[in-house]
């Protein structure tokens, strides 16, 4: 090792000897019919740095006389082109009969020809990314690959995006793939504090159970998609074995755009779009505020005013005497002598407005023969559909590479990001937007009749200074109050980048060292004014997060040709990774002055610090053997040491092996035929995963006591410190932990037919994760709530298909039609001894659990009683107990059970592009089939009487099922004709009942009644986008002295077909965390329409 370092250090001293005289060469790359090949890469043999062809296939490069240009393009056979005396050249590439000559970036930034790989990978190019102007690099990937799950948590500016490759392998740990930019791991964590939760979730991660607060942002969205050249998905452990524990859930390998030698390029992209709210829950507009069919207004006493179970609105009037709650006057009955006009129905959805997104990016790139650079500046400015929400992101990136000598080259990149985000209160939080908005009765006007209710505080503040809301007092915030008086502002400053040196020691050995870093500070301020329902006394929270991580890789690459038919490569490497996260949380409560949301305005304070560090190091190696250029065998191993495991167990080794067999090279296929390419892949990998940080000990902490309903007490109290060893959230540390292990098997084939007009990739896989570390809940009577154990076993098996077709292609026309399809079957085989259910996220009666024997992520809660307890598909038992308020209705069981898995049965997408000369029309259709969502929003609204369903009140209904009830001992029974109790279910229901307030509040909704009532399929079919673009022809461009000019109009998410009755089913209350599938007053999604301009100089 020391020798290598010495060599590397010395190499820095190498001085470049003078290079041969260069001259400017211009040229054009075309295919065999003369069509330009935009994006073809042109490199000079023996030098680093190169250029790429513009949209018209043209390029400029400084090259030596007699130099050799290496020209390649995806789908075409690469070609070495020897320069002669001419300065203008045309290089024709033959369409490859091996589409798999494509080069992909694999683990550690190693470029490999795709045909050599024995594992499934899928690459998404820049041309597929910035179709629309979302500015979010993760949501741009949605539907672009098989086996990739992307869920935008909501349409809020800056909202998180959950991303997953294949199935879940960890119960309470991270399941999101490692994000790697230019070979360096990038932080994609969530830093969030839900101040409104009764047991605040401080620094949340994959296991976050965020049900209130604001929508958290995962930091992966910071990356500017305009800087991305390609994204390669390494889907399973077999592809990522070299990355080790961090990539146990797959990896997203992002390669950024680089400058190339030649003339300076300037590209400018600008998009503007407007956003509209997509789906919203239906509301009834027939019945007024009140209860039991009687109107009760905001100033009435008692509970009835909380609901919308009042009188029919068409029987009500207004007295015309303006008051603080309504300029049109009080609601009165028909018999009231003061009655004037008919009562009005208000639409609270007027609250949503048009959001705007502006996304601008300018990049300059260029270089000389040996040195290249790229400088890019981007800005995303987004205002949300919810008033006052916005997101502003500015990114600056600079990258460069230089060949110092023919043997030594260096490269580096640095990215600066500044983000500012005004977020909105959401979810289960009495200050949340949707909670107050949707519970508002149709007869109450949150705007107070004002034209500009957002900016006129008369809509949300009464003359006496108290909040104006439909309940005339405590309850939920008026949405106009919450956007103005409960602000959440997030500031981010971030820098990440790398520096790399390559030294070719011998022509068969190259040394590479790469150091990467990612540092950011996220500062959040979250305030609640006096009178907010979440913090009636007012509160200010300052949340400061400071994260840094560094990654170092030293690799030695060796290659050797043993014979004409037999060659090999060997890679040896060492990795060191360190991260530290610091959270500083300061809370002030009991504000004195209203509308002054400053920490100094608080009367009491609490504060806390959270620091976590982690170190890992690893030695790894990979050997590759190639036989006859058609059989590729790879074997790798990694020995990793992690600081999160006990010293005795902290080092572990795991191997991987893969085989790729390009059978189409067999002579039998050489005569030409339908098959133009064929490969079989087989691989096996084992990967380890370490423990959560600080999981080995049981720690004392500052004492906090809550009770599920209130925010509770927190020490110090009255000047006295209080510490606790245990609390309902305290976990017993485990000094015996060892690494988790996942064994993964994968087989697949890549086939191309008819000269690559059709290509199919198919992969099947099976993985088994054992000794999975999870936070195992234990009986509180042990003194603790949970213990960290190596306990669970999880399996995943699945099938992934990608079919790319080009149905026709002529000089002017090209039609591409591509399909992705994936199915993953997950099974939690076991959890821990004596534990068959673990809470992931959610509420007491609408939670997402891991249950032994079920797929990961099951909605769990109370059910309806069925006629056969053992058969969940048997008819419902319909209450035959006369006199019971539920007579003639289904019966709610006191037993809870699993109610549906959250993951879909399968997902698929169709992506099509039709090109005619410079015009291209693209569209993407996404399908999610199966998978359930707990629509707690609808449950609550049915309880409160505002949901569309409750408009049917009073209608008679014969509930399908069989008559019966549970007897005193809990057995199914029914009353026979004589009224005697018989211990079996009775005949089909003949007792009509009515959809009543009682039914909706106790039986037909999950707010008090069964969770089963609100479990809905989350299936959808949606048009993800449609875009129509026009690219000016080269001839016109030349006259304009432009390299390129394009104009695209697009629609994002314009059409959604779904039976889901809430907001957009692509939603997540808990944000980008394991606990997907919850909808409880989630903020809605958006659809957008816009225009995009691309200009190249």
């Amino acid at each position: 090792m020391r020798k290598i370092i010495a060599l590397l250090s010395i190499s820095v001293l190498f001085v470049i000897s003078g290079m041969a005289q260069d001259r400017e060469v211009t040229g054009k790359v075309t295919d065999s019919v003369g069509l330009p090949l935009p994006g073809a890469t042109i490199n000079i043999k023996g030098r680093s740095g190169g250029t790429s062809a513009g949209p018209d296939g043209a390029f400029h490069i400084r090259a030596p006389r007699e130099g050799i240009l290496v020209v390649s393009a995806v789908g075409y056979a690469p070609r070495d082109f020897r320069l002669g005396a001419e300065d203008v050249v045309t290089i024709v590439l033959a369409q490859s009969n091996r589409i798999m000559n494509e080069v992909v970036v694999t683990a550690l930034g190693i470029r490999r020809e795709k045909r050599e790989l024995g594992t499934a990978t899928q690459t998404i190019g820049a041309d597929q990314l910035n179709k629309t102007g979302t500015g979010n690099p993760l949501s741009e990937l949605n539907g672009k690959a098989s086996g990739l799950t992307v869920v935008n948590s909501s349409g809020d500016p800056g909202a998180g995006t959950y991303i997953r490759l294949r199935g879940v392998t960890s119960i309470t740990g991270n399941n999101q793939p490692l994000m790697v930019v230019d070979g360096v791991p990038i932080d994609n964590s969530i830093n969030n504090y839900d101040a409104t939760s009764a047991s605040p979730n401080q620094v949340s991660g994959a296991n976050g159970n965020l049900t209130g607060g604001v929508q958290p942002t995962n930091r992966g969205v910071d990356i500017n998609p305009n800087d991305i050249e390609s994204v390669t998905l390494l889907k399973g452990p077999t592809a990522t074995a070299l990355y080790g524990i961090q990539a146990a859930s797959g990896a997203i390998i992002i390669t950024t755009k680089k400058g190339g030698a030649g003339a300076t390029h300037i590209t400018f992209n600008s998009s503007a779009s407007f956003d509209k709210v997509s789906h919203l829950p239906g509301r009834q507009e027939i019945y007024s505020q009140g209860s039991g069919g009687l109107y009760a207004g905001p100033t009435s006493s008692g509970a009835p005013k909380r609901f919308s179970w009042g009188a029919r609105i068409d029987t009500l009037y207004r007295d015309g005497i303006a008051n603080d709650y309504d300029p049109n006057g009080n609601v009165v009955g028909a018999s009231d002598p003061l009655r004037k006009s008919k009562a009005l129905v208000y639409n609270p959805y007027d609250f949503f407005r048009t959001g705007w997104t502006l996304n601008n990016n300018i990049a300059i790139s260029g270089g000389t023969g040996t040195t290249a650079y790229r400088l890019s500046l981007g800005n995303l400015h987004q205002t949300g559909i919810i008033p006052l929400s916005k997101y502003d992101k500015t990114t600056l990136s600079l990258s460069g590479q230089s060949a110092i000598s023919s043997k030594f080259s260096v490269s580096a990149a640095i990215n600066f990001i500044r983000g500012a985000n005004d977020k909105v209160q959401q979810g289960s939080n009495t200050s949340s937007i949707m909670l107050g908005l949707l519970r508002t009765p149709p007869t109450f006007d949150n705007t107070n009749g004002l034209k500009d209710p957002v900016n006129n505080e008369a809509s949300y503040v009464l003359p006496n200074g108290k909040q104006r809301d439909y309940r005339g007092g405590p309850g939920y915030d008026n949405p106009y109050w919450t956007v103005n008086r409960n602000p959440f502002h997030e500031d981010l400053i971030r820098a990440f980048g790398f520096a790399q040196a390559n030294y070719t020691l011998f022509d068969w050995m190259t040394l590479t060292y790469r150091l990467g870093g990612d540092v950011y500070a996220q500062n959040d301020k979250n305030a609640y004014d006096i009178g907010s329902n979440a913090f009636p006394a007012g509160a200010v929270h300052l949340l400061n997060y400071y994260n840094q991580q560094y990654n170092s890789d030293f690799t030695i690459n060796m290659k050797k040709n043993f014979s004409d038919q037999f060659s090999g490569t060997l890679l040896l490497g060492q990795n060191y990774f360190t991260s530290s996260n610091h959270a500083r949380l300061t809370h002030g409560s009991g504000l004195v002055l209203p509308d002054f949301l400053d920490m100094s305005n608080a009367t009491s304070y609490t504060a806390s610090e959270g620091d976590a560090r982690k170190r890992t190091s690893a030695f790894y190696g990979e050997a590759r053997l190639t036989f006859k250029d058609m059989l590729f065998f790879t074997v790798s191993g990694r020995r990793e040491t992690s600081s999160t495991l006990p010293a005795k167990n902290n080092s572990f080794f795991y191997p991987a092996a893969s085989l790729a067999y390009e059978f189409s090279k067999l002579p039998v296929f050489s005569s030409g035929g339908a098959l133009s390419y064929g490969k079989l892949r087989l691989s096996f990998a084992q990967v380890g995963k370490d423990a959560p940080v600080q999981g080995l000990q049981t720690y004392y902490n500052t004492a906090v006591v809550t009770d599920g309903f209130t925010s509770g007490i927190q020490f110090p109290i009255n000047g006295n410190a209080g510490y606790q060893l245990s609390s309902p959230t305290a976990t017993i540390g485990n000094p015996e932990l060892k690494a988790e292990k996942t064994n993964s098997y994968e087989a697949g084939t890549d086939l191309s037919f008819w000269n690559n007009r059709v290509s199919l990739n198919a992969t099947v896989y099976y993985s088994k994760s054992s000794d999975v570390i999870l936070i195992v809940p234990v009986a509180y009577s042990s003194g603790f709530s949970a213990v960290l154990l190596n306990a669970a076993t999880i399996t995943n098996k699945g099938l992934e298909l990608t079919l790319n077709t080009t149905p026709f292609r002529t000089q002017d026309w090209k039609w591409d039609l591509n399909f992705n399809w994936a199915r993953n079957v997950n099974r939690v085989k076991s959890l821990a001894a004596g534990v068959d259910r673990v809470l992931i996220a959610g509420f007491q009666n609408g939670e997402i659990d891991a249950i032994a024997g079920q797929p990961f992520g099951v909605i769990y809660g109370s059910k309806y009683v069925r006629s056969s307890a053992d058969d969940p598909s048997s008819p419902l038992l319909i209450n035959d107990t006369k006199g019971d308020p539920g007579y003639g209705m289904p019966i709610v069981s006191s037993q809870n059970g699993p109610l549906g898995k959250i993951d879909p049965d399968w997902t698929g997408s169709v992506i099509t592009t039709l090109t005619f000369k410079g015009i291209s029309l693209s569209a993407q259709l996404d399908v999610r089939h199966g998978g359930y969502i707990w629509n707690g929003t609808r449950g609550a609204l049915s309880y409160f009487g505002t949901s569309a369903e409750t408009g049917n009140r009073g209608q008679s209904h014969l509930f399908p099922g069989v008559l019966g009830h549970l007897d005193a001992a809990g057995n199914v029974a029914h009353f026979d004709a004589g009224g005697a109790e018989v211990l079996k279910p009775g005949p089909a229901n003949t007792v009509p009942s009515a959809y009543s307030q009682y039914y909706w509040q106790n039986i037909g909704s999950s707010f008090i009644g069964p969770a089963e009532a609100d479990v809905e399929k989350g299936s959808f079919v949606r048009i993800r986008y449609i875009s129509l673009g026009y690219q000016l022809p080269a001839a016109v461009l030349q006259n304009l002295h432009l390299k390129s000019l394009s104009l695209t109009v697009f629609a994002n998410n314009p059409v959604l077909w779904t039976k889901y009755k809430g907001v957009d089913p692509e939603t997540s209350l808990a944000g980008p965390a394991n606990g997907q599938g919850l909808d409880y007053f989630n903020n809605p999604g958006i659809k957008s329409y816009g225009i995009r301009l691309g200009l190249g100089l």
Binding site: S608, P646, Y723
Partner: protein, 444 residues
Amino acid sequence: MVALLALLVCMAGCKKSFYTDANVNPNSPSASSIVPSVLLSTVEGALAYMQGGDLSRFASLNTQQTKGISRQAQGYYEYVYTSQDFDQAWGNLYTSTLENDDALLKLSDAKGYHAYGGIARILRAYALQLAVDTWGGIPYSDAFQGAANLQPKYDNDKVLYDTIGELLTSAVNQLQDANAGTLTPGTEDIVYGGHADKWIKFAHAIRARVYLHQSKGDAAMAANALSEIASSFSSNDDNAQYIFGSTETSANPWYQFNEQRTDISFSEGGVGAKMIALHDPRLSILIDTTAADGGDGLLYYGLINSPVEFIAYDELLFAKAEATLRNAGSVAEAEGYYRDAIQANMEKLGVSAGDITTYLAANGSLPAGTDAAIAQIATQEYLALYLNPEVWTLWRRTDVPALTPVIGANVPRRLLYPQTEYSYNSAHVPGSVTLFSPKVFWDK
């Protein structure tokens, strides 16, 4: 870069501490730096929050002292309870309260801090008494062992009552120890400021309660209760109570509930109604009946820094009156204690002397006959034990006041075991438990 490479080289042979040091949580005090005072603060606060929060709500709704008017509280009022509703209270009992109390007890015993050891035992005894009266048999002898026993067995409720007695005996011995250790509690002891004599009185008060619960038809138990009362509180100054702070993060649990949830009405509850009927001067001190909506009306027990009373002097005087009757004492003697009890309660609440006299003139006599007299005592005690979980025990022992079930035929006589026990301690948690059976052993 060279420095980093050097580090890299070091790593191959670096010491193990390079990794293990990185994994230490720097934000938590080490176990060796923990002193008893920081645990005593926690245990007292947790116990008071659990009693004044969940247990007080369940008891006051079950006994109709208050009325749940919406959401979960309305469900509870109508006995719509599921096992999950008790997870939080049980969690606070075992983790925040008893586990930390166990740590306090062990630390105190190991260091010989007998004053702390004594208090830790009294707090444990009191918490057990609350829990047994709520759930009957619960895990104790096997509990608080952490990873060593994740599925503790259940102890019989009657046996646990004996355990309470033993804990209190040993607590009093420790507190009376002249060499009570070098470290004694001070201001962190919110309940008594470290006064050992008052803690001893509290120990006797708990024993009095425990005996009284078993005194129906058992004169010996009543006699035991009387003798404990004699060694216990002598005025309201001795009351065992936890006074909350005046900041949002140290606020009384009822204050927090009413501020954040508002689902319970006080003026529509049974105590409000009875006090209106009796022209009770305590009504305007306890409840603002003019408040328009739920949650607005709780005064004395619902301010930010209101106390949560564990046991107050007035309760002991009511107990004395009842025990006197159950121990074959005369109604006349009991009536004296009964009047003292009402007076002590009114003085505690700040009722003027004149109003007390007027009230006692109207309500201060007991009817003839033991049962009728006990019923009258319980009728007044129901008012005095406002929002104290003990009121549910009072009703279960005496059936006073006569409650009409809000829904169905029965008022709950116990709580369900929490869902967490069914999920994670299924081998031991008793099955077939309803809100009505099995009853706690003294509930006859």
